[in-house]
Amino acid sequence: MKTRVYVTLKGGVLDPQGKAIHHALEGLGFSGVNDVRAGKLIELDLADTVSDGDVEAMCRKLLANTVIENFRIERVPA
């Protein structure tokens, strides 16, 4: 089953890359951009036997650094 893991920085953590993207968008003339936060999307192709709990364990052990990042798991039905 296709599974997507979204990894985002926690609220209080400063995001230098998001800031740079924000500045670049302003430089291109886009107005009204209040804030930009950059994250990661990790797509997994998993056997049907892999449980939600397994995916959560993958996130906690490797895919996200829970000191600074949150993660959200999205299972994509075929």
């Binding site: 209080g12 230098p16 740079a20 490797l62 000191v67 600074i68």
Partner: protein, 221 residues
Amino acid sequence: MKSAVIVFPGSNCDRDLAVAIRDVTGSDPAMVWHRDAELPDGLGLIAVPGGFSYGDYLRSGAMAARSPIMRAIVEAAGRGVPVLGICNGFQILTEAGLLPGALMRNAGLNFVCCDVALAVGNDRSVFTSRYRAGETIRLPVAHHDGNYTADAETLDRLEGEGQVAFRYVEAVNGSARNIAGIVNEAGNVLGMMPHPERLIEQAQGGIDGRRLFEGLLEAVG
């Protein structure tokens, strides 16, 4: 003193570190490949070098921290064996959970490569006994992800318990409270972004880094 330098794919300070250790201690460290599961016996130092292990994929130090050798390093650290992580080594030690917090992209987004002034915050660990607390030293930095981050509670604890080993005198990379290096609670694990192994002899421009290895040798014997 027996020592080991851990080598990951993408490490690039491992040989400099080995030269520094040999120069100060008089014996060659064992170069241990990351896929090994065991460390040599009787180590007085486990050194995790700088570089770009696994190309910094996912997060700096993230893949290396899950290498087979890390289990042995965590176990040895728990027994009190001194563990030193420099630059990417610091990132690896935080990712492995041996030190709190995380190292993020530099606040200015630029790679910083220069000598920096550091204030010594702790002279009681096995690594910092040859420095005096409050003293200013100079060491080179060369990193893209040195922006130390932790929650306020952790930062307060690090400062309150004297676990901040080195602090940037001036802001370098956006690090919380200008933290450049920290020790764990027991004081036997040090992670630092600056490179002590690059200032070992006068020909390199100074010996402020040498004292770290001398202090360790004195403490460990």
